[in-house]
Amino acid sequence: MTNSLYLVKPEIVVTIVLVCIITFNLIFKDKPQALPWLSVIGLMITSYFVVEQFSYNSFAFASTDYKGLLVTDPFGAFFKILIVLSSVIVILFSISNKELDSAADRLGEYYSLIFGMILGMFFMVSAADLILIYLSVELLSLSSYVLAGFTKNTLRNSEASLKYVIYGGVSSGIMLFGISIVYGLTGTTNLYEINSLIQAPQINQITLLFAGILIFTGIGFKISVAPFHFWTPDVYEGAPVTITAYLSVASKAAGFALLIRFIKVTFIKSINAEGYWQVINVIDWKSFFILISIITMTLGNFAALWQNNMKRLLAYSSIAHAGYIMLGLVVMSNEGILAIIIYFTVYAIMNLGAFFIVMLIANKIGSEELDDYKGLGYSTPVLGISLAIFLISLTGLPPTAGFIAKLYLFIALVDAKMIGVAIIALLNTVVSLYYYIRVLKNMYLDKPGKEIPKFSASIPNLVLLIALVAPIIFFGIYFSPVVNLAKSSLTLFGF
């Protein structure tokens, strides 16, 4: 037991920082401005230990038969790094978020809850046991329910939180039901053991199918794929924009990491020489995922066409992106996972960037409505051009990183000879162009209703903005670093 502790160093650090933040806030109640920096320093230390994990590939807390609760492997380490980076960015966003001013005396809670989420997500990406999966999802959810309604003062904020709690509660209940059925079938909660047990012929296929889909419901809620997406627009619209950005990137990344590990560890018999997975013949996950991903992206893209609120628009766009990312799982190959990892690297940057600008603009004009964006491109050229770059990248046009991300997905699809799915996804891209470009149309092509004075962001925010824009352009032109990072993060323990 104790000799596994070195494998969970990041989790330990996160817990310590969490406690530190609470204590610091109790002692120095009048210095909330130090909290974000404390958090950032904590995350820096965490990232050091996470990077260390790229070289590990083993179980932690293994029991007598060498099957452990969680695993540390490069795949998990990649998602942990992604989570740490997006947390740092979101914490830096939070410093200048005006929505949080109304809750200035409770900022200690805000940052400690973020660390609660981080801890939950860390366990999610490395869990190899159904019990730990459930606990980590709950840990993430409980923290995010509170954060979604953190500012309390607006009606839609409380609505967001309540909706999130209800949807989340129901779906985690369903997931728990699925877990209990799997336990009943196999007598174990360890994914690796389940894998070898369900290959036996005496397993009841129908029951297992039922249980698998129930568990997918819980994960599907976290990654907001159709038909489990209904909470997303309302929560994204109502929550403080920093939390919206965080939910759309980090929480989704953790959900996908969990899903990939769950599917790959539990339901894969072997991997052939070309990297394609041989699925155990119980659930036709492939057709199931094709269906889910096509419905998700189409629904997300078409619903986004009618949105007039930036946060809602980006919410539906993030649903659509979940559909695209799902395509990487559809191909059931290591190449697909590579595409997902590349996609997430890029998606995190561009989506956080887009939300950042929405926040900066809302700070100034106090609105997220598209109608109020009219003529904004001329009053704030820097933010306007940056938002244009992020939206073009989200559409997936070269020479931005978004194109590279999509390219790798389509490469995976074409290589798996799933041309039809690729064409549907590409047509979806054309649809998505329409609503992304509508934002730019309002900003540049339309006359402003009222005169907006010129404004720009503060110097630190501009630096942060450049740090987000630069990689989008750079990786669009020279993408070897992203792909090499993804290649080194491909190893899942046990394969």
């Binding site: 590579l338 073009i392 046009l397 540049y444 070897s480």
Partner: protein
Amino acid sequence: MQNFPILSLITFLPLIGMIAIMFIPKEQVKPIKILTLVITAVQVILAGLIVAFYNYSAGGINNPESFQFVEKFRWIEISGLSWIGKVKVDYFLGIDGLSAPMVLLTAIVTFVATLSSWNIPKSIKGYFALFLLLDTGMMGVFVALDFFLFYIFWELMLLPMYFLIGIWGGPRREYAAIKFFLYTLFGSIFILIVMIGLYFSSTETLVDGTKVFTFNMLSMMNKANFTPTGILSPFNPNNLRFIAYIALFVGFAIKIPMFPFHTWLPDAHVEAPTAISVILAGVLLKMGTYGILRVSYPIFPEITHQLAWYIALFGMINIIYGALCAMAQRDFKKLIAYSSVSHMGFVMLGMASLTTAGISGAILQMFNHGTITSMLFIIVGVIYDRAHTREIDAFGGLANQMPVYTGFVTLAFFAAIGLPGLSGFISEAFVFLGAFGVEAIRVITVISTSGILLGAGYMLWTFQRIYLGQLKDKWTELKDLSFREYAMLVPLSLIIIFLGVYPSAMLNIMNASVNTMVKFMADAQTLYSAMVRF
């Protein structure tokens, strides 16, 4: 000269200019304009240098050795033990007789368009920054020989074009801009999917003897480089080459624009400012036909043979449909837009013939149409700047009021009709010469000749309505050409007359490449004959 990176320079000079413009305060209107003008002028000089140092005997097309001004180095390479994610992209530029005329055309048209943008009313800084970005994209498409690079440049033009139409355009500019954007993006997704398919079907042998998948277009043109099982490989009995060809063709046809994908063009032209119309008609439309000649033809030669008849048929529809539409227009600019549809039909007809004369005619027609239509759009712009209307029936008798202007109009109109002695005649004659010699498309060719008659019909009728007859009282204030307008119209006129009298100047450049292509296509017919399947 062959080792000097002149193609990179001509492609990325505008991009450097764009970055420079970003740093000029936007009140400094004059420096921005002059910088843009200087950059486009330097481009013309560079294009001139390319022609001056051009080796007339080098064929190009499918032979990497005979491309000129080649720049090739590794851009992206993802290696590693496992093959997953292994991608190799080359920064591979080069020109042959197919692209050299296009590079020259792009440089000239962009220079003229810069002059034409001189009096843009608002946001001058943004306008010229986007204009130069567009310039880089256009130039890049014509010099790229790596499919990946080609696609990046292809897509790079979309966004600047959207804004240039959408911000500086006419009353319905938003509709026109988004229509253009959606149409072209719809087309380019097909190009993308075929590109990925070809990537998985063709290999390139590295120096150390290993074979890797490649985006290199020239490798894809060699049948021996295809893998046995790739979905677009001719060796695979279940290949999808036929479908891929059609997908690729649709992607390019939207840009031409080919009937029935042409509907974005009149809208975009009518709403775009004059300079952007000039670019659109002068350069962008050529990308469609250039793409077909550069990509579809040599990579899928056997399907090209199968479908040449249909290409000719659609060419004929374009010629006649475009001419009939043009005849029905009341808006001067829309009329010119539809005449473009008609004239691009000649290019398709020439291409479909697969003969030396036909393909030479097609490429020459691309160049000539670029210069003639640019001139026509400038002519529309001149009158719109003064009268603020383009209604044909609103005018009459302008020849007396603006004699010099009318002189240029006469030249451009007759060049568009195809009067001997002007450049339009030569290219159309070559197209018909080539197409008529091919038994299969002879009927189509004969029907298409009526396009010339229709062209003369709408052009002369328009001329009569606008420039002849009684001058209306409200137009007695109109002034004749300004110095800037001379500067745009004179060079284009000279080119039109020069190529009308001495077309060999251009034909010699493309001759070796056209011969290479015709021979390649003819050889391919036997080479691929065993594996043609529907």
